[in-house]
């Protein structure tokens, strides 16, 4: 079952533009693809990679 999320109007309009530029058939398709790709990337970070990110965070280069 699909869930709804809220985004700011400005962000939504940027996503509409980006989806059109990238050739997606709808902004929904674009958002689902981007979120899926991002989540997969974060899920696949190994413990060591997370530690390396901690190094960058500690140095002040990541939030």
């Amino acid at each position: 079952m699909a869930k709804k999320i809220k985004v700011e109007k400005d962000l939504y309009e940027r996503m509409v533009t980006a989806a059109e530029k990238a050739g997606y058939t709808s902004v929904d398709e674009f958002i689902v693809h981007v979120l899926d790709r991002k989540a997969a990337k974060l899920e696949n970070l190994s413990t060591d990679e997370k530690e390396a990110e901690q190094q960058l965070r500690g140095l002040g280069y990541l939030e």
Binding site: E51, G58, L59, G60
Partner: protein, 196 residues
């Protein structure tokens, strides 16, 4: 300078402590408009300043501000290059430094700041950073809107003139290379691997 590079965004990148601040200083002195906020001020680790922008740290969440960097130079660490919007033209000056020196300098900085780094051996952390660099290189190679020029830190320190000239050519040929060269101070090359 903005005219020479038009809407192109110049990016200085690399691992933290690979000479990115030095290159930013050089480009600033050479006549480029450096996009910084002065939030992080000069200290023992970077006596001449960091030339950073807080927004860069938040690139993963918001890259809308990057439009304002057209015609300017920004510093973006290697891992965040992929977060830059792909609908602009970029010239990336990529700083390369021996990984042993990078890690040694990072450890000194963490100690001075009193902040927590990775809970990994230097060997393992170095291997992860090297892999990240390989991945970023491959990502950049697939994107024609990103033109990349590599600068080896130890070569820059040893003989800055030809590198300043090469960087100037890469960036359109309108920089003051003498002013760039004057920013290179070998005394600031403190973490050297043995033999370099």
């Amino acid at each position: 300078m903005a005219d020479a590079m038009g809407n192109t965004i110049t990016v200085v990148s690399g691992l933290p402590r690979s000479g990115t601040s030095l290159m930013m200083q050089m480009l600033d002195a050479g006549g480029m408009d450096a996009m910084t906020d002065g939030h992080r001020t000069a200290d023992d680790d970077n006596p001449r300043g960091y030339y950073e922008l807080e927004n860069v740290k938040r690139l993963r969440a918001d890259n809308s501000w990057v439009a304002d960097a057209q015609g300017k130079v920004i510093k973006v660490i290697h891992l965040l290059l992929r977060e830059l919007p792909e609908n602009y033209e970029y010239r990336v000056v990529f700083m390369r430094r021996y990984i042993e020196e990078v890690l040694s300098s990072q450890m000194k900085m963490l100690e001075r700041q009193g902040t927590k780094g990775a809970d990994l051996t230097a060997e393992k952390l170095g291997a992860i950073f090297q892999k990240q660099l390989q991945d970023v290189d491959a990502w950049l190679a697939d994107r024609p809107q990103f033109k990349v020029f590599d600068v080896k830190y130890h070569e820059l320190i040893a003989d800055p003139q030809p590198i300043a000239e090469a960087v100037n050519t890469f960036l359109g040929g309108e920089l003051n290379t003498q002013a760039m060269v004057e920013k290179v101070d070998p005394a600031l090359y403190r973490q050297r691997k043995s033999g370099s």
